[in-house]
């Protein structure tokens, strides 16, 4: 039972990450390779406030969202000026810079030593310290994220993002200030990634920079690619599929020594296959062309 709850909690933690990256990749057409950076900024901001300044969870979370959104402007700006490959390269650079700061600014983040002893979140004095309660807690956040993106995706705002994805020039010619839309896409996406960060930090009660590397950004992108981009069920199915897959492999007797590599090979193979034969992923709507 505990094992099942753990899986469900991880799914809840990854839902905001996948749905928010989908806003950038599947809706706006911005292939952002730095989502783990915002995941990490959210985690670290929340953690540092809770551990060092004894700030309660909700204000710390709020600060994490705010800080992450603010920092996203640093990569939003290049997205306005750089086309395709160059933007991807810039986002890779941003990811590496953020990781480097988290890893090397030891006086602030304790670098590779990580930050242990992150307190459990408390709600009106009630501490969330058991697995079932944390499941409900994370489910709450996954739920509001789901509702938020359901609204965003189907809104006129979401429609303009899809227009930008298809043809930015034509979107501008319609009278839309695409700068406004792209910046808001980043601000919203990074804010929700920060929520995942705060949840992760308070769940595992220990964080270090190795959870927020380029590999993690690639993993989040894989979630969206495999599940499918451009709608709600795509990324959700990606999260469920890719969180459950390792467990299935373990169940089938795959030894733990080779499991990570085999897993990654499956991810890589899936991406190659899907890009060739089924670009819309499992349940997505947008077919990469």
């Amino acid at each position: 039972m505990n094992y099942l709850l753990h899986i469900l909690i991880m799914i809840n933690i990854y839902i905001p990450l996948a749905l928010s990256l989908n806003l950038l990749v599947g809706y706006t057409g911005l292939l952002s390779m730095c989502h783990a950076a915002f995941y990490g900024i959210g985690a670290y901001t929340t953690t540092l406030l809770m551990v060092n300044l004894k700030v309660p969870f909700f204000p710390a979370l709020f600060a994490g969202i705010l800080f992450s959104s603010l920092l996203s402007l640093l990569i939003a700006y290049p997205s306005l000026r750089l086309r395709g490959d160059y933007f991807v390269l810039a986002s890779l650079g941003f990811q590496i810079i953020v990781f480097s700061i988290l890893y090397n600014w030891v006086s602030l983040t304790r670098g590779p030593y990580g930050i242990p002893g992150i307190p459990k979140p408390s709600l009106f004095g009630f501490e969330i310290d058991s697995l079932p309660f944390f499941f409900l807690f994370s489910l709450f956040f996954a739920g509001i994220t789901f509702l938020a993106f359901r609204s965003l995706y189907s809104s006129p705002f979401g429609l303009v993002l899809k227009c930008i994805r298809d043809d930015e020039l034509a979107t501008i010619a319609m009278g839309k200030n695409t700068t406004f839309f792209k910046i808001w896409a980043f601000v919203i996406a990074s804010g929700f990634a920060a929520i995942s960060g705060a949840l992760y930090a308070t769940y595992v009660t220990y964080i270090d920079p190795t959870s927020f590397t380029l590999d993690e950004s690639i993993f989040i992108l894989t979630l969206v690619m495999v599940g499918g981009a451009g709608n709600l069920k795509g990324p959700l199915s990606g999260v469920v599929f890719l969180i459950i897959l390792p467990e299935v492999l373990r169940f089938l007797g795959l030894p733990d020594t080779v499991a990570p590599n085999v897993r990654q090979m499956i991810y890589g193979g899936l991406i190659i296959y899907l890009m060739r034969k089924r670009p819309q992923g499992l349940l997505g709507e947008y077919r990469w062309r």
């Binding site: 700006y77 810039a90 090397n104 992108l221 990570p260 590599n261 062309r289």
Partner: protein, 291 residues
């Protein structure tokens, strides 16, 4: 004095970056593909070498060219079986990149599965060093510098003096025009991928002979190569070479002045500045980007 030591280390590392950059640059210029697999070519050649030299005990003189051949073959196979089908579909840049990423992930982990995730070395024992006026370099490092400079010179001559080389350059500038003249694009692409993979493979074995190999460093080497290409200028191969050496020296100096920690951040900070303000690179020409 210490400065010269760091400078020498920088040039030596810069040789490797320049090799990767030249490979990346020639592929990117010609096909416009953001070929992340280049990073795993940088890895795989070393592992071929390991199998041939260490596992099968073949002599180095035989293992080296075979290992290079393995790297070239891998690059060619990716082009032939992954990218070419996409060309027929007139796919967008995003699909190439994602497919490339998929192949990268797959191959890196295949290597790790077969050979293990840890660092491997080709030979034990201390590598002999040479003292040049107070600066100490290993034999391999000197070898790196000489081999890469030689290869760059040869490649430069090839591109500018041979007809095939001029064809490659012309094709990169205007593929449509050349296709109407009867040039087979697939032959050009195949050649370019083989050449690019050759350079990455050379860098790979030079690096592993020095410090050993690790399945996961590929993407870092690739990114350094890409950054070097942007900084030096993507339009000409000389740009990749210049960028490579500059990057190697820059990293070395940053390590000297601030410690190894900030080398990556500085490198990629510089990348973003160049992308935003001087995307044509140091050797490129300022082009107006019309909407």
């Amino acid at each position: 004095m210490i400065f010269f030591q760091f400078l020498a280390n920088g040039i030596s590392y810069g040789s490797l970056v320049a090799l990767v950059a030249v490979g990346f640059s020639v592929i990117y210029r010609t096909t416009k593909i953001f070929h992340i697999v280049h990073g795993v070519i940088y890895t795989i050649a070393s592992y071929f070498l390991y199998s041939l030299f260490v596992s099968l005990h073949l002599p180095l003189l035989l293992s080296l060219p075979l290992a290079l051949g393995g790297g070239i073959l891998t690059g060619y196979l990716v082009e032939r079986f992954i990218y070419v089908p996409l060309v027929r579909r007139e796919a967008s840049g995003g699909i190439y990149f994602l497919s490339s990423l998929g192949v990268y992930i797959f191959l890196v982990n295949l290597i790790a599965l077969i050979y293990g995730n840890e660092v491997k070395i080709l030979s034990s024992g201390i590598e002999p060093t040479v003292n040049i006026g107070g600066v100490i370099l290993t034999r391999i490092q000197i070898f790196q510098i000489f081999v890469s400079l030689l290869l760059f010179l040869l490649f430069f001559l090839f591109l500018n003096r041979t007809s095939w080389g001029k064809l490659i350059r012309a094709y990169a500038d205007d593929p449509v025009l050349l296709e109407t003249r009867g040039v087979n694009p697939y032959k050009v692409r195949a050649f370019v991928f083989c050449t690019g993979s050759f350079f990455a493979s050379v860098a790979s074995v030079l690096s592993s002979l020095d410090v050993g190999m690790d399945p996961h460093v590929g993407i870092g080497a690739f990114l350094h190569g890409a950054v070097a290409t942007i900084i030096g200028g993507v339009e000409k191969v000389e740009g990749a070479v210049l960028g490579g050496y500059l990057l190697g020296i820059l990293q070395s100096l940053v390590i000297w002045k601030t410690s190894a920690r900030w080398a990556e951040a500085v490198t990629f900070g510089l990348l973003i500045l160049f992308l935003l303000f001087k995307p044509e690179g140091l050797l490129g020409e300022r082009r107006r980007v019309e909407e």
